[in-house]
């Protein structure tokens, strides 16, 4: 029996997961200068393969095996296959495929796209328009994306983009490829680099594992010796970044949140659920810290990072409130929302770019920026939690109306979250003004982003004052928690993706509008339906009361009450 187990285990362990059998640990740690910063080849391979193919792996055109990005990068760089002819460049837009008269597929080879006369027309049209400062059409924008993919692939194919030879003294100077190393280094050192690279290439092409590992290490050491230590990405930093790339902490976090949600569904497994929830939260925080460490700044500067931060804050609020109230509903509502946000971040890299890139000047070294974004996103997260609780409450009113009324404790729990939201959103909006005062010179300028943050805040304030005025009660607040979140969605995504105007242009992106719109419409329908059902029920209840007080069980009176 034991024998069998050990044999199967041994078999499983020796089974190659991917086509290649080389060990890329050393090669992945070679540092490259790309996109304005130094990063390990591992990151570069992930980013460029993801960009070119839109996938996490690359298909070997000859064997059909799926290559890991780093394997794919070396294969393309060293020309193991005829990659120019391999269908790996993603053309995702159907309209563009039609315009280019391409067959039904999503991936095309570099050579075929280069030879496509319509692509050339697009290229000329785009460069003319760019030179003249004119706006591109939607199709041209898509074509520009494809051209960018081709450019990235071409830079690897030709080796011109492989800037791995550091500059000897200037930390901000452009690095060179090994073949151009002689530009900045003495000929002997430059020849050394080329020789080492040749060894890496030879052993890679020959599939010589030991040789490849040794040659990669040699090359790595030679390269890191060419620049002062202070100017070169440290080995620890390289290891950290590769660890971050491989761990996928945010993916692990949402998987844990899913498990926690299942546990929280039942009162009996509450403790288990919270335990798992806490592990998910810890992973979320760990990933956040790793990212901050790698980027050397607070990772809250683009849409991807804010989405991750909101998931983290949602879980944070849930844990704090659960610690105070042990109400289950906080974690129960926070978990699915955190899952949705993290899945969005995980699965749509073309919309939410996970790359770590240098910031535009206005966002750099700024204490106020960090406090502003952190607080305002805490506000968004609180309102997201309120959105979840609002739906929970409305669901209760709809499906189990006998278990809930205006005086239920759960309304008080919701109001607690709304308070937090109003507090942080108000604080964040004001801090935004303080930041704007430093970077743009003025406190308030009615920029769409700041205006929408204000609108969202005013919506919640309107809802709470409406309740103060007695216009609606606790049920109304639950409805408001659902409806007012549209203001947050608009401030968060809408300004960037729908309006696409104003000064917050570093967050702009495209895509996903239809889905968010669909979600908003369906949700409004649900909320509206709940409202109608609730009002109907209240009327019958009141009619019943009136009847009981009058003591005259007449159908006519009940009917007229109901019609009012």
């Amino acid at each position: 029996m034991k024998k069998w187990i050990s044999l199967t285990l041994g078999l499983i362990c020796t089974l190659p997961v991917y086509g290649g059998e080389l060990n890329f640990d050393e090669a992945a740690g070679i540092v490259i200068q790309s996109g304005g910063r130094q990063k390990p080849l591992h990151t570069f391979a992930n980013e460029s393969m993801q960009l070119v193919t839109g996938r996490r792996s690359v298909e070997d055109p000859q064997t059909g095996a799926r290559l890991e990005p780093i394997d794919g990068l070396f294969s393309i760089w060293f020309g193991k296959r005829d990659w120019g002819d391999a269908p790996i460049v993603l053309v995702s837009n159907p309209g563009l495929r039609e315009a280019l008269e391409l067959e039904h597929s999503r991936h095309f080879s570099f050579d075929s796209l280069m030879a496509n006369p319509r692509m050339a027309e697009f290229f000329h049209a785009i460069s003319n328009k760019r030179a003249a400062g004119e706006e591109l059409t939607d199709l041209e924008t898509e074509a520009e994306i494809v051209l960018h993919r081709m450019d990235v692939l071409n830079l690897i194919l030709t080796g011109e983009g492989m800037a791995i030879v550091p500059h000897p003294d200037d930390p901000s100077a452009r690095w060179t490829t090994p073949l151009m190393a002689v530009e900045n280094h003495d000929p002997e050192a430059a020849r050394g680099v080329v020789r080492k690279l040749r060894k890496v290439s030879d052993s890679y092409l020959a599939g010589d594992e030991a040789g490849f590992t040794a040659a990669s290490r040699d090359l790595r050491l030679v390269l890191s010796g060419l620049a002062p230590e202070a100017h070169y990405l440290s080995e620890a930093a390289v290891g950290r970044e590769i660890h971050y790339n491989n761990l996928h902490p945010f993916r692990l976090a949402w998987i844990f949140y899913v498990a926690a949600f299942l546990g929280l569904l039942f009162r009996r497994t509450y403790r288990w659920g919270m335990g798992i929830f806490a592990v998910g939260f810890a992973l979320n925080v760990y990933g956040f810290i790793l990212r901050a460490w790698i980027a050397e700044r607070a990772p809250i500067t683009n849409m991807y990072e804010t989405v991750v931060w909101v998931a983290l804050s949602l879980a944070l609020f849930a844990i704090i409130f659960e610690a105070i109230y042990r109400a289950r509903i906080y974690a129960l509502c926070a978990a699915p929302l955190a899952v949705v946000t993290l899945i969005l971040a995980d699965l749509f890299p073309t919309v939410l770019d996970p790359g770590i890139n240098p910031l535009p000047p206005v966002l750099r070294d700024n204490f106020w920026l960090v406090t502003h974004v952190v607080t305002i996103m805490l506000g968004y997260a609180a309102f997201a939690l309120a959105l979840g609780m609002g739906h929970y409450i409305l669901g209760r009113y709809l499906f189990k109306p006998e278990t809930i009324d205006e005086e239920s404790e759960i309304h008080h729990l919701l109001n607690r979250v709304l308070q937090i939201g109003i507090l942080f959103l108000a604080l964040g909006t004001i801090l935004g003004g303080v930041w704007a005062n430093y970077s743009w010179g003025r406190f308030w300028g009615w920029d769409p982003k700041e205006t929408w943050a204000l609108i969202a805040l005013l919506l919640y304030i309107f809802a709470s004052h409406g309740k103060l005025a007695g216009w609606w009660g606790n049920f109304g607040m639950a409805v408001a928690a659902c409806l007012c979140f549209n203001g947050i969605l608009m401030a968060w995504f809408g300004v960037n993706f729908v309006l696409a105007s104003g000064l917050h242009s570093y967050g702009f992106g495209t895509g996903g509008i239809e889905w968010v719109g669909l979600f908003v419409a369906l949700d409004a329908l649900f909320v509206g339906f709940c409202g109608v059902m609730h009002v109907k029920r209240q009327r019958t209840l009141r009619a019943g009361q009136v009847l009981a007080e009058i003591g005259a069980p007449s159908r006519g009176i009940a009917g007229s009450e109901g019609a009012q």
């Binding site: 003249a132 930390p171 690095w175 920026l369 308070q419 004001i430 009615w446 609108i455 105007s501």
Partner: protein, 616 residues
């Protein structure tokens, strides 16, 4: 009786002004208006949204009403009980922010400065506000703000202004104004002029141009390195084409003379043209009001500073400037024009045309080949230039040139690189229509009235000078993406004291500086705004003075602190305990909640008790 009634009415109004119903109305309208504002901005542009919503008088009034509402809501509760302090501080905080905003609006100013590293110090700000200035006869100078981006005038919907005896109507606006030469025969004086047509495979396209003898700007034509000149002398008169092209260049965006004139900003435009500025010509240039010369304060139209010629500056001193960044960003040789005629180096072509006793003769040189001959008007001649063909269409023995402004259309026009307005001026029953160039004073005679006109951005004079010492740009490693830019600026106060400062992204500087200047906002704050990737010696700083800044700060702090108090320090019964409120509502009779709002103390305590009871 009536007195009682009045008192009652006043009380009711006072209560309504502080009521939550009024607050809800105000809030609802503000929400709808700002949503509309962002949609307008997305659909049109920011200026339209500003003019119709955010800066519109009705919106300001609405915010003022909000201010009144909040103030009354706070006052109505006086004397404040302990649990009401949160309410008072929160709502009072918003009032303070709004007051700060109103102060900033009235006494603050916003503008920008575009500085060049090699230019003299600058002592004024350029605002975003466009003005039309009119001074008729001996009357005072009148300024009219124009909002061209949100309200573009057209012949069907003109803008009308009344400047004393003169009625000014803005009929049209163009982004790019151009100059067309109109060559007309005159009775006496004048100089010979001819219209030359150039064709042939070597020419970029058919060129049709007037050449006027003795006019340094119009007597020659420069085509790449080739030169054609209408001259008194012969071929030797042409000179080398390199020493400052006298004539207009063909195939380039901007006329060379114009470019040099705008660089040499200290030079009044008229000085190069024999004092044309004092001419009685209706469109005589008053002065070339470029920043650097046009720093004339708002209050004192009679005094011009800088080196503007006296005769040009009398009358209406300008407080307007054209967008300097716009004109400075244009290079005379942008390379975007037509391709240069191809030729081998060293084979320069020259053509001299001469008018001799009613005959037109040419002398030409192409490389080492020389030729000469007579020109027959209307007939083509090659002049020995390979690939070229010339024809003189028309000759005028005594011609005068009149410059006519019109929207830039391309054909035979020089761009002024500035916007323009088409005005109709009416006085004494006569009317004149004129194009007005941005940033330039224009003198027009309408009937018996003499009118000075100016159109451009409003300038704010400063009592100190600002100079750009150098501009620094850092790039992300290995890229051309800027990582940051920094302006090294020197301030010179009136007493001549110099202060060196650095201004970079997120790090503004205050001048005049004193402890707390940044907090009070009463001095000028210089923030790095933009830069010109094509000219690293140029920077644009945003300059703001906002005396309401301290109130905005304090109000924000109060607001946040008040929220904290409301939510966490003292229980705020209604908002927190919906159930308790519902109970009160159920217990009370007519308009229960409005009543509770009016007499907050008693009810609130009652509710609090209910809430506490429920908690226990």
């Amino acid at each position: 009786m009536t007195r009682n009634f009045c008192l009652e009415a006043a009380r009711a109004l006072y209560r309504f002004l502080g009521s939550i119903r009024f607050a809800m109305l105000l809030l609802a309208v503000i929400i709808v208006a700002t949503v509309a504002g962002t949609l307008i901005e997305s659909g049109f542009n920011a200026a339209v949204a500003q003019d119709y919503v955010y800066d519109a008088p009705w919106f300001i009034v609405w915010l003022a009403l909000l201010c009144v509402n909040l103030t009354v809501a706070v006052l109505v509760r006086y004397p404040w009980k302990a649990h009401q302090w949160g309410f008072v501080i929160t709502h009072g905080g918003i009032v303070v922010i709004l007051i700060g905003a109103i102060i900033g609006r009235i006494w603050g100013l916003e503008g920008h400065m575009t500085l060049h590293a090699d230019s003299p110090p600058q002592n004024f700000l350029v605002s975003n506000e466009t003005l039309l200035q009119v001074q008729a006869g001996g009357e005072r100078l009148r300024s009219f703000p124009l909002r061209l981006r949100s309200r573009e005038p057209s012949p069907d919907r003109p803008l009308r202004f009344n400047a004393g005896d003169v009625e000014v109507t803005v009929l049209q606006v163009t982004d790019e104004l151009g100059v067309r030469d109109v060559v007309e025969p005159v009775e006496s004086g004048g100089a010979p002029a001819l219209r030359l047509v150039i064709e042939g495979e070597a020419a970029p396209h058919t060129i049709r141009r007037w050449l006027v003898r003795d006019d340094p700007r119009r007597d020659s034509l420069v085509l790449g390195s080739d030169v054609i000149r209408f001259t008194r002398g012969g071929i030797e008169d042409i000179g080398t084409g390199d020493e400052g092209p006298a004539g207009s260049r063909v195939g380039h965006g901007i006329d060379a003379h114009r470019a040099t004139a705008s660089q040499d900003s200290a030079k009044a435009d008229g000085s190069g043209e024999g004092g044309a500025c004092c001419d009685a010509d209706p469109v005589a240039d008053m002065a070339h009001f470029q920043p650097g010369t046009a720093a004339v304060p708002d209050v004192d139209p009679g005094v011009a500073q800088g080196e503007v010629d006296d005769c040009c500056a009398t009358g209406a001193g300008s407080l307007v400037a054209r967008a300097d960044a716009e004109s400075a960003g244009r290079e005379p040789d942008s390379g975007s024009g037509d391709p240069e005629p191809a030729k081998a180096a060293g084979s320069r072509n020259e053509l001299a045309l001469r008018h001799e006793g009613g005959r037109l003769v040419f002398e030409s040189r192409s490389g080492s080949d020389e030729s000469a001959g007579e020109v027959e008007p209307g007939a083509a001649f090659s002049a020995g230039w390979p690939g070229w063909s010339f024809r003189v269409e028309e000759v005028i023995e005594r011609a005068a040139v009149r410059e006519e402004l019109a929207p830039m259309t391309g054909a035979g026009m020089r761009s002024l690189g500035a916007s323009g307005l088409l005005l109709r001026l009416e006085a004494d029953g006569s009317a004149v229509e004129r194009w007005l160039e941005m940033g330039r004073m224009t003198f027009v005679r309408v009937g018996t009235e003499q009118v000075h006109l100016g159109f451009g951005f409003r300038l704010y004079p400063l009592d100190f000078q600002v100079e750009l010492e150098r501009f620094e740009v850092d790039f992300d490693p290995g890229t051309e993406r800027p990582a940051g830019f920094k302006s090294h600026v020197v301030f010179t106060s009136q007493s001549g004291e110099q202060t060196r400062r650095e201004v970079w992204m997120n790090n503004p500087t205050n001048f005049p500086s004193f402890p707390g200047a940044g907090f009070l906002g009463t001095s000028y704050k210089f923030s790095q705004s933009s830069w010109n990737p094509e000219n690293l010696g140029q920077t644009t700083l945003q300059v703001i003075r906002d005396p309401g800044w301290s109130l905005k700060w304090i109000g924000s702090l109060l607001f946040c602190a008040g929220l904290l108090m409301v939510f966490y320090l003292k229980p705020y019964p209604r908002f927190q305990r919906g159930a308790a409120a519902a109970q009160v509502r159920a217990n009370s009779t007519a308009r229960p909640v409005e009543g509770a709002w009016r007499e907050p103390g008693a009810r609130r305590e009652e509710e609090a008790e209910v809430a506490i009871a429920r908690d226990a």
